[in-house]
């Protein structure tokens, strides 16, 4: 299993440009998440999804959009990029169906995407 993969690894955007950060997981996890990590800080939740076709806002959703058309993919869209969106973005996934499983609800993270908006 590749786990959680993210593309691209690095990206520089100009103010006002748009882009999509890709996230794919091959663990058949039902829950997926997008976090951002600003320098010297912990991660903050942007959006999450509890299954295909279902998404919801996290702590810091403004300026972002998501969709979840398949179990495997959870892309994050930035519209009209701003310098405040300069950050490292992490995608994560977890399995949240069987409380008896030892691994239930543990989130596994992708390698991150470093985004700079100039």
């Amino acid at each position: 299993n590749a786990g959680v993969t993210q593309t691209p690894k690095f990206r520089i955007l100009k103010i006002g440009q748009s882009m999509t950060l890709q996230c794919t997981q091959d663990m058949n996890h039902n829950y997926m998440y997008w976090y951002r990590q600003d320098p010297g800080m912990g991660l903050k939740l942007i959006y999450y999804s509890v299954g295909a076709g279902i998404t919801d806002k996290g702590e810091v959703p403004n300026g972002y959009n998501v969709s979840r058309s398949t179990t495997e993919d959870f892309p994050l869209r930035l519209e009209l990029a701003a310098p405040s969106q300069t950050s490292v973005y992490f995608c994560a996934s977890s399995y949240s169906m069987d409380p008896g499983l030892a691994d239930t609800d543990t989130q596994y993270f992708g390698p991150g995407t470093r985004l700079t908006v100039l």
Binding site: Y33, M41, G42, L43, L45, S96
Partner: protein, 116 residues
Amino acid sequence: AQTVTQSQPEMSVQEAETVTLSCTYDTSENNYYLFWYKQPPSRQMILVIRQEAYKQQNATENRFSVNFQKAAKSFSLKISDSQLGDTAMYFCAFMKLRTSGSRLTFGEGTQLTVNP
């Protein structure tokens, strides 16, 4: 809303010694999970250990163990026989069970440096 506090921004330890990282949290929930994640310079977020709040026994994973004090809302991480590869940022995280998407709330991290 839940909050997680890591009061030690930086710590250092000599190789082979033991170090304890502190974490406190605030919640009105009774059922939840607590995690420690490690983030080395590669930036990858790596699960270190997890603790279910309903379990009284402290979780252990090889050289890593926790001291979970539910009444005090404290969740410290002990690293024994520290190794150079343990140098990383360590994040404590809280999860309310299966509501709001089982989201994680992170502390601000403790930078641990293991010195040779």
